[in-house]
Every structure is written in C-alpha cells, then in structure tokens.
Amino acid sequence: MADLHENLQKLRNISHNPKKQLDTYLSDGKQVIGAFPYYTPEVMADAAGIIPMGMWGAQTEFSLAKKYLVPFACPIMQACMELGLQGKYAGVKAVMIPTMCDTLRDVTQDFKTGVKDISTIAYTLPQNRKLAAAKEYLIEELTYVKEQIEKIYGVTITEEAMQKSIAVYNKHNSVMREFAAIANDHLDIITPAVRHSVFKSAWFMSKSEHIAAVEEIINQLKALPVYNFTGHRLILTGITAEPCSLLNILSDNNFAVVGDDVAQEMRQYRTDIPEDTSSLASLAQQWLDRSDPMAHDDHIDRVNLLEKLYKENNADAILVCLMKFCDPEEYEFVAYNSALKEAGIKVLSIDIDQQPNNYDQARTRIETLAELL
C-alpha cells in the first residue's frame, strides 16, 4: 500500500498531465468523452462504461484558437479550442458542452466547426428553475444528450446502469466533502496546491477510481494527529484556482485554503443527485437543486454563502480568483465584493488566466494581504 505522500503525488501527477491519463485510458481500450465546464451529465457516460474527462484547457499560448475566438474571450475556452485544434484531444470521440454562458453558447459552434473529428453534444440548462415546466424541458434535453452518446459511441445506456452510476457519483460527492473537511486538520500536508490537485484529478479519473484514491488519503490523514496551523486561512471563490505556481505563492506567504466556492472544485460536490421517478428526472432535479451563481435564482445568495464559508472555517480572508473575461463572475463580483467588505471581511481579487504568467502582480498583492493579516 502506498503511503500518504505517494497517494497525493499520484493525484498530483494526474492533475498535471491529463493527456497521459487520456492516453492510458485509450491504450487500455476505454472510450473517453469530454466534459466542458461545468455541469455535464457525466453519469450517462459512466453508465455506459465511457470515461468522462474534464475539459478545463491548460496553461498554453493561444495560436490556432485565434482563428475562432477574440483575444478577450474566456481563457479556458481559448485553451480548449487551442488544444482541440492542435489534436491534443485525439481519441476523444465526443464532448458535452452546456451553454451556460455566452462564450459557451458560441463555443458549441466553434468546436463543432473547428474540431471536426470530435462530435459536439450541446445542450441548454434551464434558468427559470422554479417552474415544473423547467424540469420537463430538461428531461427532454438530457434525453437528447443520452441519445447522442448512444449513437456516437454505439452503446445502450440502461436505467439500471444509470442508477448504479448515480450512486457512484453521490458517493464521490460525499467523499469529496469529507476530504475538504479533514484537509483543514492537516494544513501542513494539504497545502493549497495539494488540495487543488486532489480536486482537479477528479476530472480525469473514473469516479470509482477517484473515490478509492481519496478514501485512502482520508484514512491516512485520519491516522495522523491534527496539525495546529497558525498561518492565514483563506476561502477561494471563482471558476478555477490555478495554476499551482499561483497557489504556491499562497504557501510561500503562509496561507492555507480552508474552503472554497470554486466551480472546478467544491461547487461540483455541494448538491447530490436526488431520488426521483427516473434517472433522467434525478439528473434534472439535481440541476434545479443546485446552488450555483451561474444559474439564475441561485437559491443561496453568494454573499451569504461566502460569509458562511468564511465563518464556518475560521477564515481570515476571501480570495477571489476572477477568471479573465468571465462575464458572470464579473457581475457577481459587483454583488458580493462591497457587501463582504461592509461585513468586515477582507477580500482580495486576482485575475486567473491560462496563458503563461509569472503572477508577479498577484504575488505582490498576496504579500500585502499577508502583511495586513
């Protein structure tokens, strides 16, 4: 049995090199489907034995992507287009893209046109989530996605298999929530970069494999005495909080991450898939139940959510990881920044990009925050 550090290193390696993981799955005879940010019905693929892999771009220069996207488009989408056009996703038969923001709407069309050897499965989540009609509509939309997967991959997705996969995904949610909680007792080991890699690796592994890996890490952490962390405790919010070179600036300045509202991380695991009349109804209800700022009427005010995370985790500040050119997050920032500051919470905002960046400006600001605290 590997020790804790080896287990963490394994997830770190996977989160740093998803291409290697993709190639391993393909050489093992597995089929793979791409899951664009940030809610896709991965359960359907899992039920068919297809590995869903997250499409979160990468740190890369944008060259081919310029043929499709303007320089002020979302960096994740530019990176996904770039990697797709470069052929880095070779072997992936299809991608699922939810039209959750304006750029994603367009990328459904750009990817379909530009990356011809990968099928694009677009679908639209309803925003007016209080109405019963929204659920009926979403079940139809999910049926469309299911039929597309069946057609492209030549598989049949049964109700029984769907129910089994739903159980796996709910178990994964629970394991990730447990990891997030226990990580705070071991902030010497679970540094910001380590924490991030545990979350990010989930996007590139079958959920069963990830559950096994994280459960082992949790058990190994439980066996250790609680570490008395005396540094600064941060809550992160945003779409992604990466790369590790940025997160290492936090460690360098004695910051730990004690909670997050990050789309790539804990937002995924806040809401389980409930029991319902069918698996598709369950998946539809999960979206209707989700508390998420990308949705209209997000059930819980972002100010309240961040304040709650801040208090529950004895945080010292909130770090806004503001994805460059991300309209929804930029509007949300207007809503919560001044409200949190008025509540006496320190808020620092830094820009997140996917083009190589030395983060000197972020370093200076993080150092200043450390001094303030």
Binding site: C101, D102, R105, V107, T124, Q127, E136, Y331
Partner: protein, 417 residues
Amino acid sequence: MSEEVIKKPKRKKSKSQLMASALLDKAYQETIEAKARGEKIGWSTSLFPQEIAETLGLHIVYPENHGAAIAAKKLADPFLQYAEAHDCNNDLCSYAKIDLAYADILDCDASNMPRPDFLLVGNNGCNEITKWFELLSRKYNIPLFMVDMTYNHQDHVTKSRTKYIRAQLEQLITDLCELTGQTWDPDKFAEIMKISTINRNLWEQVADYLAIVPSPISGFDLFNYMGPMVFTRGRTETADVLRQLIAETEENIKNGKSTFPAKEEFRVFWEGIACWPYLSHNLKTLKKYGINVCATAYARAWSLDYTPGDLDSLAAAYSFTSSNNILLEESVRRRKEWNEKFHIDGTIYHVNRACKVMVCQQQELMRQVSEACGGLPYMSFDGDQADYRNFSEAQFEQRIEAFAETMRNRKEALKNG
C-alpha cells in the same frame, strides 16, 4: 488668426424621423408620469415579449435602448467612469455599465428612466443580461420576472422548448396580475398581438425597400427607427410612424430619390450592433465611398413572426429571432438569403468589445457566409456599441477604404466574367 470653420447644415429630419423621436419621448414621459401617479413601472430587456405588459397597460422602459441613446449623445463617459469605480470590470458590456451607474444616479441629459418597481428579463439576446438585471433586482430589492428562452443548438425550436417558454409566459401573466392587482383580458392580449404583428409586417416592408437597387433609403436610417420597434411595437402609434416612413419612401421611389446621401456604389450587410458613439462618423465614412448598409441582422431581430392569438408561436418566435440564440448554420442560412435578396456586395463585421455572444463565433460566421455566397468580401473593425474608448476612427476609415477597393475589384471581375 483662427480659420473660420463653416459647418455644413445638418440634414433636415424627415417627418417620420420626427414622429419616431416624438413617440419615444412620449413613451419615456408617460413612464415618468405613471411613476408619479404611483403606478408600478418596469425596466425590461429589449427582446422581451412586450405583449403581456402592453396588454396590462404597464409602462416599461428599456435600459439597452437608454444606454444606446446616452452613448449616441456622447454622454456615456461619466457613467462608464462611475461604474468602473464601483466594482464593474472594464470588460463588462458597456450598456450594462452605463445602466448600473445610471441605476445609482437616476439622472442624465437624455431621456430619464424612473426607478423601477419590477424587472422583465429575457435571455434571448444574451445570458449575461440576466446577471446584470439580477444586480438591479438586488439593488432595488424588487422582483425580477424572467423568461428563459433557451439557446437553440438545434435547427428549430424544439417542442419541449416551446412548452417551457409558454409555461413561463403564463406564469408571467399570473405574476404581473398579482403584482399590479389587474385582471387579465385575453381579448386585449389578442388585439396587442395583432397590432404587434401589423408593426412587424410594416417593419419588414420598410426593410424590404433596401432590396431595390439603388436603394431609396439609407440603411443606417433604420437604426433611428429601432426605438419605436423596441419600445412601442405593441402600439398603433408605431404603425403611424412606419406608414409615414413608407409613404416618404414611396415618394422617393417615384422621384428617383434616396435618403442615402451619396451615389450608391456598394451595398453592404452590417453585422452587429451599431457603434452608437460614432454613428455619424461611420455614416460619413461609408458615404465617402458610396457604401450603403442595405441589410442588418440586428434590426431584423425585432421582426417577430408569430400568429396572433397563438401563444406557442409567440414563444417560439422570441426564442428563434436573435442571431445570438441560434446555431451557426441557421445564422449562415439567413445571411445567405439576405445577401441574395438585398444584392449585397460585402459584409462589415463590428467586432463589438461589449458583446461576447456576438463576437465569439463571428470569425467562423465570416468564413462560412463568404463561402456560402461565392466568396463575398468581408471586413471587420474593432468597436463597441457604447464605450467610445474602444473604437479608432483611423482604423475604421483605413479598413473601409481598402474594403471599397476590394468590392470594386470583385464587381469588375464579376462584370468581366
């Protein structure tokens, strides 16, 4: 000694233009008066199903239209500065920035919008407008009624979409009746749908005049009539404005005249929203090369084609009208049809810094439309619908000059076989 500058007198406004301006002023004024009487007034997104509020006699104003007017009158700067000083990222939509600042200030040197009591949001133009209006809802602590129009990734509005949108429209009727204490009158609703359809048909008729070669009207003029189509397309006064415009155009045709102030050398398709702060500069530059804007998808978005009395067809029409809410193939199909119908020589693409949904598939649109239309020339320029800082007059002028040359060469080549 300074040289005396002799300004050319401004072109006299036509009667229809004066009527359009007066109708818009009246709509703003009526909203102010309704607010003063204690009635609940609303702010709405521009492509919202206005038929329901109009049936209830509610007074509605349109922040996007208001932002365009502020920008066109070159009054945007203090609003943009204010917004950016209050946590609005420079990157956000310039209409939103102007409006979020205006929501605090509630005063400008153009028409004013009173503080709203409720908000109407349709996301058929873009997703981000929902977030913008959520900020208004939070700021004023007022209800926001949304009709989610669900982006169409298929080549038609699916039955499930129509059903969902229809359910939302029915819920909206209930919600607005509850908010205002009014009773729903289905006969009046049918009448408003009928009036809106008449206006739609008149708007189409006006746009169709641009198919005549040379065109009897300047395509840029249509932007001046968008106010009534956004604000009052459910009212009979809008029909009066459009009928007057039709009469003036018929007169021009009879006399061999045009409102385009130069000899029409080239006929172009304008892609995207107007660059409001530079509208006269753009027109002047185009005029210099005899370029008339004879087609635009943007103005056509308000040409909502549905069957009066049929709520399903209204739901589908609102979902499928905007280029921002449909798949690429349908956008290309429409443009091919318009390019042929309006005898278009080339396309001008406004790479609008304020509008990601318009520009993030625009480059592929450029290629596919050109290819579908036998290598139709196109050009693009960097601009912004309302932020004057994101536009360069020099860049626009240079590119238009080169574009005119490209279109001229192509026309000659086609002529010579």
